[in-house]
Symmetry: C2
Subunit: 327 residues, 2 copies
Protein backbone atom coordinates (compact mmCIF):
# COMPACT_ATOMS: atom_id res chain seq x y z
CA UNK A 1 0.00 0.00 0.00
CA UNK A 2 2.94 2.32 0.49
CA UNK A 3 3.06 4.56 -2.51
CA UNK A 4 5.92 3.96 -4.87
CA UNK A 5 8.75 6.22 -3.89
CA UNK A 6 10.45 8.56 -6.28
CA UNK A 7 13.10 7.00 -8.49
CA UNK A 8 15.96 8.17 -10.57
CA UNK A 9 13.66 8.21 -13.59
CA UNK A 10 11.31 10.69 -11.98
CA UNK A 11 14.21 12.95 -11.25
CA UNK A 12 15.58 12.61 -14.77
CA UNK A 13 12.25 13.39 -16.35
CA UNK A 14 11.54 16.41 -14.21
CA UNK A 15 15.07 17.71 -14.62
CA UNK A 16 14.93 17.11 -18.33
CA UNK A 17 18.10 15.02 -18.38
CA UNK A 18 18.97 11.35 -18.77
CA UNK A 19 19.10 8.98 -15.83
CA UNK A 20 22.82 8.60 -16.43
CA UNK A 21 23.31 12.24 -15.60
CA UNK A 22 21.29 11.99 -12.43
CA UNK A 23 23.33 8.97 -11.48
CA UNK A 24 26.50 10.92 -12.04
CA UNK A 25 25.43 13.74 -9.82
CA UNK A 26 24.35 11.55 -6.94
CA UNK A 27 27.67 9.77 -7.23
CA UNK A 28 29.56 13.00 -7.31
CA UNK A 29 31.12 12.32 -10.64
CA UNK A 30 33.39 15.14 -11.83
CA UNK A 31 32.09 14.76 -15.36
CA UNK A 32 29.00 16.87 -14.98
CA UNK A 33 28.70 20.50 -15.92
CA UNK A 34 28.33 22.49 -12.69
CA UNK A 35 25.18 24.10 -13.95
CA UNK A 36 23.56 20.76 -14.76
CA UNK A 37 24.59 19.36 -11.45
CA UNK A 38 23.12 22.25 -9.57
CA UNK A 39 19.85 21.92 -11.40
CA UNK A 40 19.61 18.18 -10.85
CA UNK A 41 20.42 18.65 -7.19
CA UNK A 42 17.57 21.11 -6.92
CA UNK A 43 15.12 18.70 -8.49
CA UNK A 44 16.36 15.92 -6.20
CA UNK A 45 15.64 18.07 -3.20
CA UNK A 46 12.24 19.12 -4.51
CA UNK A 47 11.22 15.56 -5.13
CA UNK A 48 12.79 14.30 -1.91
CA UNK A 49 14.59 11.69 -3.94
CA UNK A 50 16.56 9.03 -2.03
CA UNK A 51 18.50 6.53 -4.14
CA UNK A 52 17.48 2.93 -3.60
CA UNK A 53 20.44 1.27 -1.91
CA UNK A 54 19.63 -2.19 -3.20
CA UNK A 55 19.60 -1.09 -6.78
CA UNK A 56 22.83 0.75 -6.23
CA UNK A 57 24.48 -2.22 -4.70
CA UNK A 58 23.23 -4.62 -7.29
CA UNK A 59 24.68 -2.67 -10.13
CA UNK A 60 27.76 -1.29 -8.51
CA UNK A 61 28.65 -4.50 -6.75
CA UNK A 62 29.71 -2.96 -3.47
CA UNK A 63 28.24 -1.53 -0.31
CA UNK A 64 31.14 -0.02 1.62
CA UNK A 65 29.80 -1.86 4.60
CA UNK A 66 31.49 -4.33 6.91
CA UNK A 67 29.80 -6.77 9.24
CA UNK A 68 31.37 -7.31 12.65
CA UNK A 69 30.45 -10.44 14.54
CA UNK A 70 31.41 -11.22 18.12
CA UNK A 71 30.02 -13.12 21.13
CA UNK A 72 28.67 -11.13 24.06
CA UNK A 73 28.80 -7.37 24.21
CA UNK A 74 31.49 -6.27 26.56
CA UNK A 75 30.99 -2.54 26.36
CA UNK A 76 34.42 -1.08 26.74
CA UNK A 77 36.41 -3.80 25.04
CA UNK A 78 34.38 -3.62 21.89
CA UNK A 79 34.17 0.10 21.86
CA UNK A 80 37.97 0.16 21.76
CA UNK A 81 38.28 -2.58 19.19
CA UNK A 82 35.70 -0.94 16.98
CA UNK A 83 37.26 2.47 17.30
CA UNK A 84 40.43 0.95 15.96
CA UNK A 85 38.50 -0.65 13.15
CA UNK A 86 36.73 2.61 12.36
CA UNK A 87 39.97 4.49 12.17
CA UNK A 88 41.08 2.21 9.37
CA UNK A 89 37.75 2.02 7.57
CA UNK A 90 36.83 5.68 7.63
CA UNK A 91 39.68 6.64 5.39
CA UNK A 92 38.09 4.65 2.60
CA UNK A 93 34.53 5.62 3.33
CA UNK A 94 33.60 2.30 4.87
CA UNK A 95 31.75 1.71 8.09
CA UNK A 96 30.86 -1.36 10.07
CA UNK A 97 27.76 -2.51 11.83
CA UNK A 98 27.57 -5.10 14.54
CA UNK A 99 26.01 -8.46 14.97
CA UNK A 100 26.68 -9.74 18.50
CA UNK A 101 25.91 -13.39 19.18
CA UNK A 102 24.57 -13.05 22.70
CA UNK A 103 21.96 -15.75 22.26
CA UNK A 104 21.60 -19.20 20.78
CA UNK A 105 19.18 -17.87 18.22
CA UNK A 106 21.69 -15.43 16.96
CA UNK A 107 24.22 -18.17 16.45
CA UNK A 108 21.86 -20.08 14.27
CA UNK A 109 20.76 -16.97 12.49
CA UNK A 110 24.21 -16.09 11.16
CA UNK A 111 24.72 -19.63 10.10
CA UNK A 112 21.40 -20.05 8.39
CA UNK A 113 20.81 -16.73 6.79
CA UNK A 114 24.24 -15.62 5.87
CA UNK A 115 22.25 -13.36 3.65
CA UNK A 116 22.85 -10.24 5.64
CA UNK A 117 26.55 -10.92 5.83
CA UNK A 118 26.73 -11.42 2.09
CA UNK A 119 25.05 -8.08 1.82
CA UNK A 120 28.27 -6.40 2.95
CA UNK A 121 31.72 -6.16 1.43
CA UNK A 122 33.62 -7.81 4.23
CA UNK A 123 33.43 -9.52 7.56
CA UNK A 124 35.30 -9.11 10.82
CA UNK A 125 34.89 -11.88 13.34
CA UNK A 126 36.06 -11.40 16.91
CA UNK A 127 36.79 -14.08 19.48
CA UNK A 128 35.04 -16.81 17.58
CA UNK A 129 36.12 -19.90 15.75
CA UNK A 130 35.53 -18.46 12.31
CA UNK A 131 36.49 -21.61 10.54
CA UNK A 132 33.60 -23.49 12.08
CA UNK A 133 31.22 -20.57 12.28
CA UNK A 134 31.28 -19.66 8.63
CA UNK A 135 31.27 -23.12 7.14
CA UNK A 136 29.75 -23.26 3.71
CA UNK A 137 27.56 -20.22 3.98
CA UNK A 138 30.21 -17.75 3.10
CA UNK A 139 31.71 -17.87 -0.38
CA UNK A 140 35.43 -18.42 -0.65
CA UNK A 141 36.05 -15.00 -2.10
CA UNK A 142 34.38 -13.09 0.75
CA UNK A 143 36.98 -10.96 2.56
CA UNK A 144 37.18 -12.09 6.17
CA UNK A 145 39.52 -11.22 9.02
CA UNK A 146 39.62 -13.02 12.32
CA UNK A 147 40.47 -11.22 15.54
CA UNK A 148 41.39 -12.95 18.78
CA UNK A 149 41.35 -16.31 17.09
CA UNK A 150 43.97 -17.88 14.89
CA UNK A 151 42.10 -19.01 11.83
CA UNK A 152 43.32 -21.65 9.41
CA UNK A 153 41.47 -20.15 6.51
CA UNK A 154 41.63 -16.41 6.98
CA UNK A 155 43.98 -13.67 8.09
CA UNK A 156 44.08 -13.27 11.84
CA UNK A 157 45.19 -10.58 14.21
CA UNK A 158 45.54 -11.41 17.84
CA UNK A 159 47.51 -10.95 20.99
CA UNK A 160 49.88 -13.60 22.25
CA UNK A 161 47.60 -14.82 24.99
CA UNK A 162 49.89 -17.63 26.03
CA UNK A 163 52.66 -15.14 26.62
CA UNK A 164 50.23 -12.95 28.52
CA UNK A 165 49.57 -15.89 30.78
CA UNK A 166 53.30 -16.32 31.25
CA UNK A 167 53.64 -12.68 32.27
CA UNK A 168 50.88 -13.07 34.81
CA UNK A 169 52.47 -16.25 36.12
CA UNK A 170 55.91 -14.72 36.39
CA UNK A 171 54.45 -11.86 38.37
CA UNK A 172 52.19 -13.77 40.69
CA UNK A 173 54.71 -16.53 41.38
CA UNK A 174 56.69 -14.04 43.38
CA UNK A 175 54.14 -14.11 46.13
CA UNK A 176 53.30 -16.59 48.83
CA UNK A 177 49.92 -18.21 49.16
CA UNK A 178 47.74 -20.64 47.34
CA UNK A 179 47.40 -19.99 43.65
CA UNK A 180 43.97 -19.76 42.02
CA UNK A 181 42.84 -19.11 38.50
CA UNK A 182 39.48 -17.70 37.51
CA UNK A 183 38.83 -18.12 33.82
CA UNK A 184 35.95 -18.05 31.40
CA UNK A 185 34.00 -21.14 30.47
CA UNK A 186 33.03 -21.08 26.84
CA UNK A 187 29.31 -20.72 26.45
CA UNK A 188 29.38 -21.90 22.90
CA UNK A 189 31.70 -24.33 21.19
CA UNK A 190 32.35 -21.58 18.73
CA UNK A 191 33.95 -19.14 21.10
CA UNK A 192 37.66 -18.76 20.66
CA UNK A 193 40.23 -20.25 22.98
CA UNK A 194 41.91 -17.09 24.15
CA UNK A 195 41.04 -17.78 27.76
CA UNK A 196 42.40 -21.29 27.61
CA UNK A 197 45.64 -20.00 26.17
CA UNK A 198 46.01 -17.42 28.89
CA UNK A 199 45.52 -20.11 31.47
CA UNK A 200 47.95 -22.44 29.72
CA UNK A 201 50.63 -19.78 29.73
CA UNK A 202 49.97 -19.13 33.36
CA UNK A 203 50.26 -22.81 34.23
CA UNK A 204 53.49 -23.09 32.29
CA UNK A 205 55.06 -20.19 34.12
CA UNK A 206 53.90 -21.26 37.54
CA UNK A 207 55.25 -24.75 37.05
CA UNK A 208 58.56 -23.45 35.83
CA UNK A 209 58.81 -21.56 39.08
CA UNK A 210 58.18 -24.77 40.96
CA UNK A 211 54.82 -23.66 42.26
CA UNK A 212 51.47 -25.41 42.12
CA UNK A 213 48.02 -24.18 41.20
CA UNK A 214 45.47 -25.01 43.86
CA UNK A 215 42.41 -24.68 41.71
CA UNK A 216 41.15 -23.39 38.40
CA UNK A 217 37.61 -22.02 38.26
CA UNK A 218 35.80 -21.70 34.96
CA UNK A 219 32.79 -19.44 35.01
CA UNK A 220 30.58 -17.40 32.72
CA UNK A 221 31.27 -13.81 31.82
CA UNK A 222 29.21 -12.55 34.70
CA UNK A 223 29.92 -10.31 37.68
CA UNK A 224 27.94 -12.40 40.08
CA UNK A 225 29.67 -15.66 39.29
CA UNK A 226 33.03 -14.01 39.75
CA UNK A 227 31.89 -12.58 43.04
CA UNK A 228 30.76 -15.97 44.27
CA UNK A 229 33.94 -17.57 43.09
CA UNK A 230 35.89 -15.10 45.19
CA UNK A 231 33.75 -16.15 48.12
CA UNK A 232 34.83 -19.75 47.62
CA UNK A 233 38.47 -18.89 47.17
CA UNK A 234 38.73 -16.76 50.25
CA UNK A 235 36.86 -19.23 52.39
CA UNK A 236 39.55 -21.78 51.60
CA UNK A 237 42.53 -19.61 52.20
CA UNK A 238 42.88 -16.00 53.21
CA UNK A 239 46.38 -15.83 51.93
CA UNK A 240 46.27 -16.34 48.22
CA UNK A 241 47.23 -15.17 44.79
CA UNK A 242 44.69 -15.05 42.00
CA UNK A 243 44.94 -14.82 38.24
CA UNK A 244 41.74 -13.51 36.71
CA UNK A 245 41.83 -14.26 32.99
CA UNK A 246 39.94 -11.03 32.34
CA UNK A 247 39.64 -7.75 34.27
CA UNK A 248 35.96 -8.31 34.10
CA UNK A 249 36.46 -11.02 36.75
CA UNK A 250 39.17 -9.18 38.64
CA UNK A 251 36.84 -6.45 39.77
CA UNK A 252 34.25 -8.50 41.65
CA UNK A 253 37.05 -10.52 43.19
CA UNK A 254 38.73 -7.42 44.51
CA UNK A 255 35.38 -6.11 45.62
CA UNK A 256 34.59 -9.23 47.60
CA UNK A 257 38.01 -9.21 49.23
CA UNK A 258 37.39 -5.67 50.33
CA UNK A 259 34.00 -6.50 51.73
CA UNK A 260 35.52 -9.12 54.01
CA UNK A 261 38.25 -6.74 55.04
CA UNK A 262 41.19 -8.13 53.10
CA UNK A 263 43.88 -5.82 51.87
CA UNK A 264 45.45 -6.22 48.43
CA UNK A 265 49.19 -6.85 48.31
CA UNK A 266 49.14 -7.75 51.99
CA UNK A 267 46.50 -10.42 52.32
CA UNK A 268 46.29 -11.45 48.67
CA UNK A 269 47.57 -10.74 45.19
CA UNK A 270 45.57 -10.35 42.04
CA UNK A 271 46.38 -9.99 38.37
CA UNK A 272 43.76 -9.38 35.68
CA UNK A 273 43.89 -9.32 31.89
CA UNK A 274 42.87 -6.67 29.30
CA UNK A 275 43.66 -3.42 31.07
CA UNK A 276 40.17 -2.02 30.89
CA UNK A 277 39.63 1.36 32.47
CA UNK A 278 38.17 -0.16 35.57
CA UNK A 279 41.38 -1.96 36.36
CA UNK A 280 43.05 1.41 36.23
CA UNK A 281 40.57 2.97 38.63
CA UNK A 282 40.70 0.08 41.03
CA UNK A 283 44.45 -0.12 40.74
CA UNK A 284 44.46 -3.73 39.67
CA UNK A 285 47.63 -5.23 38.27
CA UNK A 286 46.85 -6.57 34.82
CA UNK A 287 48.06 -7.72 31.42
CA UNK A 288 47.50 -5.07 28.82
CA UNK A 289 46.22 -5.94 25.36
CA UNK A 290 46.58 -3.47 22.49
CA UNK A 291 42.88 -3.59 21.70
CA UNK A 292 42.59 -0.50 19.54
CA UNK A 293 45.56 -1.63 17.46
CA UNK A 294 44.04 -5.04 16.88
CA UNK A 295 40.96 -3.40 15.45
CA UNK A 296 42.95 -1.01 13.33
CA UNK A 297 45.20 -3.64 11.82
CA UNK A 298 42.27 -5.91 11.17
CA UNK A 299 40.55 -3.08 9.35
CA UNK A 300 43.56 -2.41 7.17
CA UNK A 301 43.86 -6.02 6.17
CA UNK A 302 40.17 -6.26 5.45
CA UNK A 303 40.30 -3.23 3.22
CA UNK A 304 43.19 -4.63 1.28
CA UNK A 305 41.37 -7.87 0.70
CA UNK A 306 38.30 -6.04 -0.46
CA UNK A 307 40.47 -4.17 -2.90
CA UNK A 308 41.55 -7.42 -4.39
CA UNK A 309 44.88 -8.06 -2.71
CA UNK A 310 45.27 -11.77 -2.56
CA UNK A 311 47.76 -13.63 -0.46
CA UNK A 312 48.01 -16.62 1.79
CA UNK A 313 46.27 -16.06 5.09
CA UNK A 314 48.65 -15.07 7.81
CA UNK A 315 48.54 -14.20 11.49
CA UNK A 316 49.65 -11.01 13.09
CA UNK A 317 50.49 -11.55 16.71
CA UNK A 318 50.82 -8.58 19.05
CA UNK A 319 52.57 -8.64 22.40
CA UNK A 320 50.75 -8.13 25.66
CA UNK A 321 52.39 -6.29 28.52
CA UNK A 322 52.38 -6.54 32.30
CA UNK A 323 51.13 -3.48 34.15
CA UNK A 324 51.93 -3.61 37.81
CA UNK A 325 49.60 -1.68 40.05
CA UNK A 326 48.44 -2.10 43.61
CA UNK A 327 47.33 -5.71 43.69
Amino acid sequence: MKKRSVTIKDVAKKAGVGVGTVSRVINNSPHVKPKTKEHVLKVIKELGYLPNPHARRLSSGHTRLITTIFPQMVGEFHQLLLSGLDSALEKEGYTSFLYPLYSENRYSFVQESSDFVLGTDGLLVDALNVDKLLSSFIPKNMPVVSVEYESETYDSVLVDNFYGGILAGDYLSNFDGEIYVVSHRKESKLESTVFQERVNGFIESVERKGRKITKIFEIQLDWLQAFNTAKKIFSNSKKCVIFAATDYFAFPILEYARVIGLEPKKDFHLCGFDNLSLSDILNITTIKQPIFEMGEIAGQILLRKIQGYIRKPQSIVLKPELIVRKT
Copy 2:
Protein backbone atom coordinates in the same frame (compact mmCIF):
# COMPACT_ATOMS: atom_id res chain seq x y z
CA MET B 1 39.42 -9.63 -10.75
CA LYS B 2 37.22 -11.82 -8.62
CA LYS B 3 35.61 -14.31 -10.90
CA ARG B 4 31.94 -13.82 -11.44
CA SER B 5 30.07 -15.87 -8.93
CA VAL B 6 27.42 -18.36 -9.85
CA THR B 7 23.98 -16.93 -10.44
CA ILE B 8 20.47 -18.22 -10.60
CA LYS B 9 20.85 -18.59 -14.36
CA ASP B 10 23.75 -20.95 -14.01
CA VAL B 11 21.72 -23.08 -11.69
CA ALA B 12 18.70 -23.02 -13.96
CA LYS B 13 20.71 -24.02 -16.99
CA LYS B 14 22.54 -26.84 -15.28
CA ALA B 15 19.35 -28.11 -13.67
CA GLY B 16 17.47 -27.82 -16.92
CA VAL B 17 14.73 -25.66 -15.48
CA GLY B 18 13.70 -22.02 -15.67
CA VAL B 19 15.05 -19.41 -13.32
CA GLY B 20 11.57 -19.00 -11.90
CA THR B 21 11.68 -22.52 -10.64
CA VAL B 22 15.06 -22.05 -9.04
CA SER B 23 13.75 -18.90 -7.41
CA ARG B 24 10.80 -20.84 -6.06
CA VAL B 25 12.94 -23.47 -4.49
CA ILE B 26 15.32 -21.06 -2.80
CA ASN B 27 12.31 -19.23 -1.45
CA ASN B 28 10.74 -22.42 -0.26
CA SER B 29 7.64 -21.99 -2.31
CA PRO B 30 5.16 -24.86 -1.88
CA HIS B 31 4.40 -24.81 -5.58
CA VAL B 32 7.30 -26.95 -6.71
CA LYS B 33 7.14 -30.65 -7.35
CA PRO B 34 9.20 -32.35 -4.64
CA LYS B 35 11.27 -34.14 -7.22
CA THR B 36 12.12 -30.94 -9.06
CA LYS B 37 12.94 -29.24 -5.82
CA GLU B 38 15.26 -32.00 -4.77
CA HIS B 39 17.08 -31.90 -8.07
CA VAL B 40 17.47 -28.14 -8.05
CA LEU B 41 18.73 -28.27 -4.50
CA LYS B 42 21.35 -30.75 -5.54
CA VAL B 43 22.55 -28.55 -8.37
CA ILE B 44 22.64 -25.57 -6.03
CA LYS B 45 24.88 -27.45 -3.69
CA GLU B 46 27.11 -28.70 -6.50
CA LEU B 47 27.57 -25.22 -7.85
CA GLY B 48 27.87 -23.66 -4.41
CA TYR B 49 25.21 -21.19 -5.41
CA LEU B 50 24.48 -18.33 -2.98
CA PRO B 51 21.65 -15.97 -3.95
CA ASN B 52 22.72 -12.37 -4.36
CA PRO B 53 21.05 -10.49 -1.51
CA HIS B 54 20.99 -7.17 -3.34
CA ALA B 55 19.13 -8.59 -6.29
CA ARG B 56 16.74 -10.30 -3.95
CA ARG B 57 16.07 -7.16 -2.04
CA LEU B 58 15.71 -5.03 -5.11
CA SER B 59 13.02 -7.16 -6.59
CA SER B 60 11.28 -8.33 -3.46
CA GLY B 61 11.39 -4.96 -1.78
CA HIS B 62 12.26 -6.19 1.69
CA THR B 63 15.21 -7.39 3.71
CA ARG B 64 13.80 -8.65 7.01
CA LEU B 65 16.48 -6.58 8.65
CA ILE B 66 16.20 -3.87 11.28
CA THR B 67 18.80 -1.27 12.13
CA THR B 68 19.26 -0.39 15.79
CA ILE B 69 20.97 2.87 16.62
CA PHE B 70 22.03 4.00 20.07
CA PRO B 71 24.76 6.12 21.69
CA GLN B 72 27.52 4.37 23.64
CA MET B 73 27.57 0.65 24.17
CA VAL B 74 26.58 -0.17 27.68
CA GLY B 75 26.99 -3.92 27.59
CA GLU B 76 24.32 -5.24 29.86
CA PHE B 77 21.66 -2.63 29.24
CA HIS B 78 21.71 -3.14 25.51
CA GLN B 79 21.98 -6.87 25.72
CA LEU B 80 18.71 -6.82 27.65
CA LEU B 81 17.01 -4.33 25.40
CA LEU B 82 18.06 -6.22 22.32
CA SER B 83 17.00 -9.55 23.73
CA GLY B 84 13.55 -8.08 24.14
CA LEU B 85 13.66 -6.79 20.61
CA ASP B 86 14.82 -10.15 19.29
CA SER B 87 12.03 -11.96 21.01
CA ALA B 88 9.53 -9.91 19.04
CA LEU B 89 11.40 -9.96 15.75
CA GLU B 90 12.32 -13.63 15.63
CA LYS B 91 8.74 -14.72 15.34
CA GLU B 92 8.55 -13.03 11.98
CA GLY B 93 11.97 -14.01 10.76
CA TYR B 94 13.50 -10.60 11.29
CA THR B 95 16.76 -9.77 12.98
CA SER B 96 18.49 -6.56 13.90
CA PHE B 97 22.01 -5.33 13.63
CA LEU B 98 23.56 -2.53 15.57
CA TYR B 99 25.01 0.82 14.81
CA PRO B 100 26.27 2.43 18.02
CA LEU B 101 27.20 6.11 17.86
CA TYR B 102 30.20 6.07 20.14
CA SER B 103 32.11 8.65 18.13
CA GLU B 104 31.55 11.94 16.39
CA ASN B 105 32.28 10.33 13.07
CA ARG B 106 29.55 7.83 13.56
CA TYR B 107 27.05 10.58 14.21
CA SER B 108 27.85 12.23 10.95
CA PHE B 109 27.94 8.95 9.16
CA VAL B 110 24.33 8.03 9.93
CA GLN B 111 23.24 11.48 8.98
CA GLU B 112 25.14 11.66 5.76
CA SER B 113 24.89 8.18 4.40
CA SER B 114 21.51 7.10 5.55
CA ASP B 115 22.09 4.58 2.83
CA PHE B 116 22.70 1.67 5.11
CA VAL B 117 19.64 2.46 7.16
CA LEU B 118 17.50 2.64 4.06
CA GLY B 119 18.87 -0.75 3.24
CA THR B 120 16.78 -2.26 6.04
CA ASP B 121 13.07 -2.54 6.63
CA GLY B 122 12.88 -0.60 9.84
CA LEU B 123 14.77 1.40 12.40
CA LEU B 124 14.92 1.33 16.16
CA VAL B 125 16.53 4.31 17.82
CA ASP B 126 17.44 4.19 21.49
CA ALA B 127 18.12 7.11 23.81
CA LEU B 128 18.54 9.61 21.03
CA ASN B 129 16.56 12.56 19.79
CA VAL B 130 15.27 10.78 16.70
CA ASP B 131 13.45 13.78 15.43
CA LYS B 132 16.65 15.72 15.03
CA LEU B 133 18.86 12.78 14.20
CA LEU B 134 16.91 11.55 11.22
CA SER B 135 16.04 14.88 9.65
CA SER B 136 15.53 14.66 5.94
CA PHE B 137 17.61 11.59 5.32
CA ILE B 138 14.95 9.11 6.17
CA PRO B 139 11.83 8.97 4.02
CA LYS B 140 8.53 9.60 5.70
CA ASN B 141 7.31 6.08 5.14
CA MET B 142 10.27 4.38 6.83
CA PRO B 143 9.06 2.48 9.92
CA VAL B 144 10.79 3.93 12.97
CA VAL B 145 10.33 3.39 16.70
CA SER B 146 11.95 5.48 19.37
CA VAL B 147 12.99 3.99 22.70
CA GLU B 148 13.89 6.04 25.77
CA TYR B 149 12.94 9.22 24.01
CA GLU B 150 9.51 10.68 23.40
CA SER B 151 9.44 11.46 19.72
CA GLU B 152 7.07 13.91 18.11
CA THR B 153 7.12 12.10 14.82
CA TYR B 154 7.32 8.42 15.62
CA ASP B 155 6.00 5.86 18.05
CA SER B 156 7.92 5.81 21.31
CA VAL B 157 8.31 3.38 24.14
CA LEU B 158 9.91 4.53 27.31
CA VAL B 159 9.93 4.42 31.06
CA ASP B 160 8.53 7.23 33.15
CA ASN B 161 11.90 8.63 34.12
CA PHE B 162 10.45 11.58 35.97
CA TYR B 163 8.48 9.24 38.16
CA GLY B 164 11.60 7.15 38.67
CA GLY B 165 13.29 10.27 39.97
CA ILE B 166 10.36 10.85 42.31
CA LEU B 167 10.71 7.33 43.67
CA ALA B 168 14.40 7.86 44.32
CA GLY B 169 13.67 11.19 45.96
CA ASP B 170 10.94 9.79 48.16
CA TYR B 171 13.29 7.08 49.31
CA LEU B 172 16.39 9.14 49.89
CA SER B 173 14.57 12.02 51.56
CA ASN B 174 14.02 9.77 54.52
CA PHE B 175 17.64 10.03 55.49
CA ASP B 176 19.72 12.74 57.07
CA GLY B 177 22.72 14.26 55.42
CA GLU B 178 23.53 16.48 52.50
CA ILE B 179 21.86 15.48 49.26
CA TYR B 180 23.91 15.01 46.09
CA VAL B 181 23.00 14.00 42.59
CA VAL B 182 25.36 12.41 40.09
CA SER B 183 23.93 12.48 36.61
CA HIS B 184 25.09 12.12 33.04
CA ARG B 185 26.15 15.07 30.95
CA LYS B 186 25.04 14.64 27.38
CA GLU B 187 28.01 14.16 25.12
CA SER B 188 26.03 15.01 22.06
CA LYS B 189 23.09 17.34 21.63
CA LEU B 190 21.29 14.39 20.15
CA GLU B 191 21.27 12.21 23.22
CA SER B 192 17.90 11.89 24.85
CA THR B 193 16.93 13.66 28.03
CA VAL B 194 16.20 10.66 30.21
CA PHE B 195 18.85 11.66 32.69
CA GLN B 196 17.52 15.17 32.98
CA GLU B 197 14.05 13.82 33.61
CA ARG B 198 15.26 11.53 36.34
CA VAL B 199 16.97 14.43 37.99
CA ASN B 200 13.92 16.65 37.60
CA GLY B 201 11.73 14.08 39.26
CA PHE B 202 14.24 13.75 42.03
CA ILE B 203 14.35 17.49 42.59
CA GLU B 204 10.58 17.69 42.65
CA SER B 205 10.32 15.01 45.29
CA VAL B 206 13.08 16.37 47.46
CA GLU B 207 11.58 19.84 47.45
CA ARG B 208 8.18 18.51 48.31
CA LYS B 209 9.74 16.94 51.35
CA GLY B 210 11.18 20.31 52.31
CA ARG B 211 14.76 19.24 51.70
CA LYS B 212 17.47 20.85 49.64
CA ILE B 213 19.94 19.44 47.15
CA THR B 214 23.49 20.44 47.95
CA LYS B 215 24.93 19.83 44.53
CA ILE B 216 24.27 18.19 41.19
CA PHE B 217 27.23 16.73 39.32
CA GLU B 218 27.02 16.06 35.63
CA ILE B 219 29.66 13.74 34.27
CA GLN B 220 30.36 11.45 31.37
CA LEU B 221 29.39 7.81 31.30
CA ASP B 222 32.70 6.75 32.74
CA TRP B 223 33.76 4.82 35.82
CA LEU B 224 36.65 7.07 36.60
CA GLN B 225 34.67 10.28 36.56
CA ALA B 226 32.11 8.77 38.88
CA PHE B 227 34.88 7.62 41.17
CA ASN B 228 36.39 11.06 41.30
CA THR B 229 33.04 12.65 41.85
CA ALA B 230 32.57 10.42 44.88
CA LYS B 231 35.89 11.69 46.11
CA LYS B 232 34.63 15.25 45.93
CA ILE B 233 31.34 14.45 47.56
CA PHE B 234 32.83 12.62 50.49
CA SER B 235 35.50 15.22 51.07
CA ASN B 236 32.73 17.78 51.63
CA SER B 237 30.58 15.73 53.89
CA LYS B 238 30.92 12.25 55.26
CA LYS B 239 27.27 12.08 56.06
CA CYS B 240 25.36 12.23 52.85
CA VAL B 241 22.74 10.78 50.57
CA ILE B 242 23.42 10.34 46.88
CA PHE B 243 21.20 9.77 43.87
CA ALA B 244 23.13 8.23 40.99
CA ALA B 245 21.06 8.64 37.85
CA THR B 246 22.40 5.32 36.60
CA ASP B 247 23.74 2.23 38.35
CA TYR B 248 26.78 2.66 36.21
CA PHE B 249 27.68 5.61 38.46
CA ALA B 250 26.44 4.03 41.66
CA PHE B 251 29.08 1.35 41.62
CA PRO B 252 32.22 3.50 41.64
CA ILE B 253 30.62 5.73 44.24
CA LEU B 254 29.98 2.79 46.53
CA GLU B 255 33.44 1.52 45.80
CA TYR B 256 35.09 4.77 46.76
CA ALA B 257 33.06 5.01 49.95
CA ARG B 258 34.27 1.57 50.88
CA VAL B 259 37.86 2.43 50.17
CA ILE B 260 37.74 5.27 52.66
CA GLY B 261 36.01 3.06 55.18
CA LEU B 262 32.46 4.36 55.00
CA GLU B 263 29.59 2.02 55.61
CA PRO B 264 26.42 2.15 53.52
CA LYS B 265 23.18 2.87 55.33
CA LYS B 266 25.15 4.11 58.31
CA ASP B 267 27.50 6.72 56.93
CA PHE B 268 25.72 7.40 53.68
CA HIS B 269 22.78 6.40 51.48
CA LEU B 270 22.81 5.68 47.81
CA CYS B 271 20.16 5.00 45.18
CA GLY B 272 20.97 4.07 41.60
CA PHE B 273 18.85 3.68 38.46
CA ASP B 274 18.40 0.79 35.99
CA ASN B 275 18.76 -2.27 38.18
CA LEU B 276 21.65 -3.78 36.30
CA SER B 277 23.01 -7.02 37.67
CA LEU B 278 25.87 -5.27 39.36
CA SER B 279 23.54 -3.32 41.58
CA ASP B 280 22.13 -6.64 42.66
CA ILE B 281 25.55 -8.04 43.48
CA LEU B 282 26.64 -4.95 45.32
CA ASN B 283 23.30 -4.67 47.05
CA ILE B 284 22.65 -1.18 45.83
CA THR B 285 19.17 0.28 46.19
CA THR B 286 17.97 1.28 42.77
CA ILE B 287 15.12 2.16 40.44
CA LYS B 288 14.27 -0.74 38.18
CA GLN B 289 13.48 -0.22 34.52
CA PRO B 290 11.70 -2.93 32.51
CA ILE B 291 14.42 -2.97 29.89
CA PHE B 292 13.58 -6.25 28.17
CA GLU B 293 9.93 -5.23 27.89
CA MET B 294 10.83 -1.93 26.30
CA GLY B 295 12.72 -3.79 23.61
CA GLU B 296 9.97 -6.30 23.08
CA ILE B 297 7.20 -3.76 22.77
CA ALA B 298 9.28 -1.63 20.46
CA GLY B 299 9.84 -4.68 18.27
CA GLN B 300 6.15 -5.45 18.08
CA ILE B 301 5.28 -1.93 17.09
CA LEU B 302 8.02 -1.85 14.50
CA LEU B 303 6.81 -5.06 12.95
CA ARG B 304 3.29 -3.77 12.72
CA LYS B 305 4.43 -0.64 10.98
CA ILE B 306 6.48 -2.65 8.53
CA GLN B 307 3.41 -4.68 7.79
CA GLY B 308 1.60 -1.54 6.82
CA TYR B 309 -0.34 -0.66 9.92
CA ILE B 310 -0.70 3.06 9.93
CA ARG B 311 -1.75 5.15 12.86
CA LYS B 312 -0.83 8.33 14.62
CA PRO B 313 2.41 8.03 16.53
CA GLN B 314 1.86 7.34 20.18
CA SER B 315 3.93 6.80 23.30
CA ILE B 316 3.92 3.81 25.53
CA VAL B 317 5.13 4.69 28.98
CA LEU B 318 6.16 1.96 31.40
CA LYS B 319 6.46 2.37 35.15
CA PRO B 320 9.76 2.10 36.98
CA GLU B 321 9.94 0.58 40.43
CA LEU B 322 11.95 1.18 43.60
CA ILE B 323 14.06 -1.74 44.75
CA VAL B 324 15.32 -1.24 48.27
CA ARG B 325 18.55 -3.02 49.07
CA LYS B 326 21.40 -2.32 51.43
CA THR B 327 22.32 1.26 50.56
